[in-house]
């Protein structure tokens, strides 16, 4: 991704993150105040012990009334603190869930509006990850790390304040004695993180190995390679266990180190306190209180190293999320759109270059170079060329799924950059190579083109393309479920659905990206028939893989490595004896039986 975000510091990232998700900021001061009050509930006991010892157990005996009074105050304070803590946690939870929801929706919208150039195959996974796993790191953070910051952070602050107010010398002794713990923890934490990284990647490896055994079961059987793959999977599983055990062992030393430091710190505090004695203004109660407070102070530290790690992960996740929001949406909507003339539309391609964007701001090698062609309204054109010649990309530019890097594409004499997106989608429609169907019924997939159509209208569209006989072969007709990505239908049938879907939009320009996959004979007949009906009266540009399509077209454009090398009717190009005639010859050879 083109990520200016990688230059942002942690503070900058958090700042921008809060701006992107304003729900986080609203009322945060109050939440913090409530958390502080809540933390007070957890230092009530040490203070009460101190007060009781110093005021309740005097030399003259046990002042039960004083103790009862103190306990009463403490009780009220605890109840108040409990309410405050609950409210603070609830507020943080609500605000963060609200913020994450908002962030997700912003991401959905933004990503859907990105240029198709930003949706290349290798990036698709990354985009999905931004909305799912990266936002999820933030969610995890707010559920644990953020809460820990709020509750434990305020607790440590408060404990430190109480310690300082009792006796600053002892407090400083406690802080100094405990300080090395932070260093130790940080060290161990670093090892722990890399150990868990390894364990996680080994875990992924186990999943891969096992999925091979399962998904490749037929191949493994057919080649009697079972033992080999079982060995590999078991080895992966053993390695996973080994690395989790190693990580667990490191973790086993991390947490008790807090215990060890606690006893040393308590000893230091008691030792120094006893040395200084009552003359320094210390009381027995304060001493006992100190013992309690020291434990309270050190309790969250071990957890805090984990929280710090999680915070870093969350900030990194936030940085990536913001990175996506920084990608400009495209192609941008024109400020003053020009409406397209009615009726069939001509397509003009004028000196067009195009490159896909990769990481950073560099462009990949150009896919189209200096391409020009004029396609009159109503003409049937086939674009041919080998894989990688740029034919699919050319289709995408005509549909303005992306803008050319240089040059212009116009439809009906209007540059695409001046046409409102909604109008363009209505007039120029693409039937993609591997038509994508959403999970659901055929009817639902058709409605995707025009949401409010009745079943009767959908049926009309089916009849218009002469596909009734096909639909009747399906178990539940138009209500047949297509499965995930349309997997329940054959590749050819998915194309048929896509053709009906396109016809519902009634476009002036039709862009057909032919399927490469083999289609059975009957479906092939139906496809050809439906296409002919759909193409009637429309400017049709077919990105052709089958040369029969090219032979039927009014005109053939031959692309080779991004350049237009031949342009003319089928028969003329055959006679010219160039690239196209050679392609055609080998295709004829393959589809004719020798008898």
């Amino acid at each position: 991704m083109s990520e200016p975000t990688s230059r942002w510091t942690t503070v900058e990232t958090i700042g921008r993150g809060v701006r992107a998700a304003p729900a986080l900021r609203s009322g945060f001061g109050l939440t913090l105040g409530l958390a502080l009050l809540g933390a007070a509930g957890r230092v009530v006991i040490p203070i009460l012990v101190q007060q009781t010892i110093d005021r309740g157990f005097t030399d003259s005996g046990v002042e039960v009334d004083t103790i009862a009074l103190l306990a009463g105050i403490a009780l009220i304070l605890v109840l108040l603190a409990t309410w405050a803590q609950r409210t603070a946690v609830l507020r943080l939870g609500r605000r963060s869930e609200e913020a994450l929801y908002g962030l997700r929706v912003r991401l959905f919208e933004h990503i859907h509006r990105l240029s198709i150039a930003d949706h290349s195959e290798e990036r698709k996974g990354a985009l999905v990850a931004r909305v799912t796993s990266d936002v999820e790191t933030l969610a995890q953070f707010f559920q644990w790390g953020g809460l820990a910051w709020l509750l434990d952070g305020t607790l440590m602050l408060l404990v430190a304040a109480v310690m300082l107010s009792y006796d600053w010398v002892l407090a400083v002794v406690a802080f100094i004695a405990a300080a090395p713990l932070a260093l130790v923890l940080q060290r161990v934490q670093r090892h722990l993180v890399s150990a868990y990284d390894l364990a996680r990647s080994r875990n992924a490896n186990v999943m891969t190995q096992i999925s091979e055994v399962v998904a490749g079961a037929e191949t493994i059987r057919a080649y009697e390679a079972g033992p080999h793959f079982v060995r590999a999977a078991k080895r992966a599983s053993k390695e996973r266990s080994d690395s989790f055990i190693t990580a667990g062992t490191i973790g086993a030393f991390l947490f008790p180190s807090g215990e060890v430091f606690s006893v040393f710190t308590v000893s230091a505090v008691v030792g120094v306190g006893v040395l200084r004695g009552p003359g320094s203004g210390l009381t027995a109660g304060a001493m006992v209180g100190f013992v309690f407070l020291t434990y309270r102070f050190l309790e969250p530290i071990a957890e805090f190293t984990e929280v710090l790690e999680q915070t870093q992960t969350a900030v990194a996740g936030m940085r990536r999320v913001l990175g996506v929001l920084e990608i400009p949406i495209g192609p941008p909507e024109p400020e003053t759109p020009i409406s397209l003339p009615s009726g069939p539309l001509a397509v003009t391609i004028d000196r067009v270059d195009f490159s896909y964007r990769t990481r950073g701001d560099e462009d990949e090698a150009p896919v189209l170079i200096g391409l020009s062609a004029h396609i009159p309204a109503g003409q049937q054109v086939a674009v041919v060329g080998e894989t990688g010649s740029g034919k699919t990309t050319l289709g995408r530019l005509i549909a303005r799924l992306a803008d050319p890097s240089a040059g212009t594409v116009s439809v009906g004499g209007v540059s695409l950059t001046r046409v409102a997106n909604a109008e363009l989608r209505r007039r120029v429609t693409v039937v993609p190579q591997e038509p994508f169907l959403f999970e659901g019924s055929i009817a639902a997939n058709l409605s995707f083109a025009r949401p409010k159509l009745s079943l009767a209208e959908l049926d009309d569209a089916v009849d218009a393309l002469d596909l009734r006989d096909w639909l009747d072969t399906l178990p539940e007709g138009i209500e047949t479920q297509v499965g995930q990505r349309g997997a329940q239908l054959s590749a050819g049938e998915r194309q048929l659905v896509a053709l009906i879907r396109a016809s519902l939009v009634d476009p002036a320009v039709l862009l057909l990206d032919e399927a490469t996959s083999s289609v059975d004979a009957l479906t092939e007949v139906r496809l050809t028939r439906a296409l002919e009906r759909l193409a009637r009266g429309r400017t049709t540009i077919a990105i052709a893989h089958r040369l029969s399509t090219a032979a039927r077209a009014d005109r053939v454009l031959v692309l080779d490595r991004g350049r237009l090398v031949e342009d003319g009717p089928h028969r003329v190009l055959i006679e010219a004896g160039g690239v196209y005639s050679r392609m055609y010859e080998s295709w004829v050879a393959a589809t004719t039986s020798t008898d």
């Binding site: 985009l127 399962v214 008790p256 393959a590």
Partner: protein, 581 residues
């Protein structure tokens, strides 16, 4: 509960030793925790009190008491280290055993079983469920330690002061019940949230995959709204957990504090009555604070149990399924090089018969094309001959010397090209190169790492045609007596396909080749054609004979050539007159 015990017993079958070491560590921790309360009493009564109320304390006393505190802390920490280390070891070794058992079972099951299962479920079973099932082992030693802790603390509390002790001990069950209830309820919320997250991920995946369609129909806003609805369900599920958590966490924090305050008041009366010292009271309160976290752990452990049980039950369900006999064992060994098929029946799920009595002798050393309309059972016939699926009725006789099937959709493993061809067997570099050459897979040598190039999961980094050629090389390198090709060259461009077929003819002199084909060019290269229709062999003979004598066959071939026919009529009527039409 009985189920949970059975689960733990099953998990510990091979790992009880490490487990009991972990429990030992937890017990040491518990004992030290309780004893540290005694030390706190000593600090209060024998160090702080004498120094601050009476002015002096012997320094040796201070050293002894603080030394005891430090020693105890270190032993206690050591107990934690032992417990955690060995608990992790127990869990992961148990997970390893279970995974191994599942992996063995997966490889034992025959193809029909695999076809009836969902890949995702099986992978989850072996990978994730093993971890889930054993997850309960991780907190279990600590939980057992907590039981020791509660027991010892109760004894100490009651011994220190009968009435105060009893009052404190009475609170333990209450705390345990609340925390167990809470954990179970909050886990249910997290499970719901997890499901919603799964649904959201799937929807996002689908939506972004279909981004071209979304854009083509200007449906960006509609898609965003659809996803927003799913995201809002996730938010609601999480908010449910937040609500529960905020209340219970606050309650579980407050309850011990309140009890502590009451203990202090009660204790004050006891101290006044001379029944206990200030130090003893302090140590009671100290002990009670120490117990809060471990008590909550019991709730946590119990909340793990349903997850572990669910994982374990899924694994059991997988392991308890019977292993069907290997269909390859039902193939008869012939005396000659022919493949004989007699009265062969086959039906998917016992419904409509795909093969309804196929009889044929496929001659050894020749190339036979199996031709038929979509759904005529061509692929099924090949899979039966390869011994992947069992016949319903009838016999199949095959020659010795190995049968290799190349699938219609080639499966490549996520490793190197070399691994994909050898699949763990030893082949010389020369043999591999030769196989690649016949399969026209010379592109391998142009790849940056040649044979050692990683192909990615399912071979994603390669094109369909490249995958098919590697799958072909995988079969060829094994020099089988019978080569079964299931429309193996469909994704190749016509030029390459012709070359591959020519290579096969040139190099496979003695090999019996059975090829499912739909391209006329492929069919015409075969010596014989086996024409399947309606589940039986309609004709078996040379292509041109069948074209002449079998009208149904001719119509099918003409349909295959329809594409060409349309072209001839439309554009190029006289260019190929006298062709196949």
């Amino acid at each position: 509960m009985r189920q949970a015990l059975r689960l733990v017993r099953a998990l510990l079958r091979h790992h009880h030793r490490t487990f009991f070491v972990a429990v030992g560590g937890a017990a040491v921790f518990a004992a030290c925790t309780v004893y540290s309360a005694v030390v706190v009493r000593m600090i209060t009564d024998e160090v702080i009190d004498p120094r601050f109320r009476r002015g002096t304390v012997s320094s040796s006393k201070v050293v002894v008491v603080l030394g005891a505190l430090i020693l105890l802390g270190c032993v206690r920490a050591a107990g934690v280290v032992v417990r955690r280390t060995f608990a992790g070891r127990t869990q992961w070794r148990a997970a390893e055993s279970i995974s191994a058992e599942v992996i063995d079972r997966l490889s034992e099951q025959a193809v029909p079983w695999h076809r009836s299962q969902s890949t995702g479920d099986l992978v989850t079973g072996a990978g994730v469920d093993a971890e889930a099932a054993t997850a309960v082992l991780s907190p279990l030693p600590f939980a057992s330690g907590v039981v020791v802790l509660v027991g010892l603390s109760s004894v100490l509390l009651v011994a220190t002061d009968l009435w105060l002790g009893l009052a404190a001990v009475a609170v333990f069950p209450l705390l345990i019940v609340i925390s167990v209830k809470y954990q179970l309820r909050v886990e249910a919320h997290y499970d719901t949230a997890q499901d919603e997250l799964g649904r959201l991920s799937a929807a996002v995946h689908e939506s972004f995959d279909g981004v071209a369609v979304v854009k083509s129909f200007g449906a960006e806003r509609r898609e965003t709204e659809r996803l927003a609805v799913i995201a809002s369900r996730l938010r609601e599920a999480r908010l449910g957990a937040v609500r529960l958590r905020s209340t219970f966490e606050a309650l579980l924090d407050a309850l011990p504090t309140v009890v502590n305050i009451l203990l202090l008041v009660g204790g004050a009366y006891r101290v006044r009555a001379g029944a206990m010292t200030v130090g003893e009271l302090t140590s009671c309160i100290y002990l009670f604070t120490l117990l809060v976290f471990p008590l909550r752990l019991i709730g946590y452990t119990l909340s793990e149990v349903p997850h572990s049980l669910a994982g374990w039950n899924r694994i059991r369900a997988l392991l308890d399924q019977p292993v069907a006999p290997n269909p390859a064992d039902t193939l008869l060994q012939g005396v000659d090089r022919n493949i004989g098929v007699a009265e062969l029946h086959f039906a998917h799920d016992g419904e409509r018969e795909v093969l309804a009595g196929v009889d044929a002798v496929i001659e050894g050393g020749r190339t036979t094309a199996v031709v038929g309309a979509t759904g005529s059972g061509k692929t099924t016939l090949l899979h039966l001959i390869a011994g992947l699926i069992p016949a319903g009725r009838g016999t199949i006789t095959v020659p010795t010397g190995g049968i290799r099937l190349v699938f219609q959709e080639p499966f490549l493993f996520a490793s190197t090209i070399r691994e994909n061809i050898t699949m763990g067997e030893d082949f010389t570099e020369h043999a591999i190169d030769a196989a690649l050459a016949v399969a026209e897979a010379g592109f391998v040598h142009d790849l940056p790492d040649g044979l050692d190039t990683e192909v990615g999961e399912r071979g994603v980094s390669l094109s369909g045609g490249q995958r098919q050629r590697l799958a072909l090389a995988r079969a060829l390198v094994r020099r089988p007596a019978v080569l079964l090709l299931d429309d193996t060259t469909s994704a190749l461009d016509p030029n390459t396909e012709a070359k591959v077929l020519a290579n096969l003819r040139a190099t496979l002199g003695n090999t019996t080749v059975v090829v499912v084909a739909s391209r006329p060019s492929t069919i015409s290269l075969a010596d014989d054609v086996l024409f399947l229709d309606g589940g039986v062999v309609v004709a078996h003979g040379r292509h041109d004979e069948l074209m002449q004598n079998v009208p149904r066959y001719r119509r099918l071939i003409e349909a295959f050539e329809h594409d060409r026919a349309a072209l001839d009529a439309d554009a190029d009527a006289d260019a190929t007159s006298g062709g196949g039409v």
